[in-house]
């Protein structure tokens, strides 16, 4: 049975969810079978598409809901929220 899990994360790195973090997110999401969606203020996009994630324009401080549906939903959300927790390895330095 497909289960759905959700989690709320905050974009903390100063540069926001730009191309490189988006790529990292999509690569990580792609390792899981679960369908991943990212929701910002009601805007819901496919978490396995860079183009879709970039349409969110998630600046620093943005709160996002991650929703995963599938057998490994919880593991997927663990891995994805970990990316936000470590600021996509940008360590507070503003890289483009």
């Amino acid at each position: 049975m497909a289960e759905t899990a959700t989690r709320t994360v905050t974009v903390n790195n100063p540069a926001g969810l730009h191309a490189r973090p988006a790529e990292l997110f999509v690569k990580t999401a792609g390792q899981f079978e679960a369908k991943i969606e990212v929701i910002k203020n009601g805007q819901r996009v496919d978490g396995k598409s860079i183009l879709n994630i970039l349409t969110l324009a998630a600046v620093q401080g943005t709160e996002l809901s991650l929703e995963a549906t599938g057998p490994d939903a919880h593991q997927a959300l663990d891995a994805l929220s970990e990316l936000f927790a470590r600021d996509f390895d940008e360590n507070g330095t503003v890289k483009s």
Binding site: P14, A15, G16, L17, H18, A19, R20, A22, E23, I50, L51, N52, L54, T55, L56, A57, A58, V59, Q60, V94, K95, S96
Partner: protein, 158 residues
Amino acid sequence: MKFGDFVSRDAIRAQLGADDKESAIREMIGALLEAGNISSDEAESIVKAILKREELGSTGIGRGVAVPHAKHPSVQRLVGTVAVSGEGIDFNSLDGEKVQLFFLLISPPDRPGDHLRALENISSQLRDETFCRFLKQAKSADDIRQLLEEADNNGFAS
């Protein structure tokens, strides 16, 4: 943010002559230089900054699209250009496909929000297949200008 807010009209190029990543970037920076958007003293340093960003991971985000970019202190506001390659250029894209559509962005170091809003506009317009297809078929800078204007006026993406 619309294309008209950051794309330099005079720097748009329909038929890139370049056949590799670095020369494509140089050609687009040359176009911005000719259009008067950047100064000749800074052009080389901007090229270097963009190439350095590519080393972190290709900005070829798939579906024949790349968004090469860098932050650079010499620009006061976000400026960019659009270029099309009919044959496509090997850009080490994430999906391995050649890149036909280039959206190059240079932003001031302290404006990450503007950069994100430009990416938002580019990516949401590119989700429209028709816009993508027409852009890839553009034969002149005027064709591209027209498509960008239509996109800005909501001719494509909703």
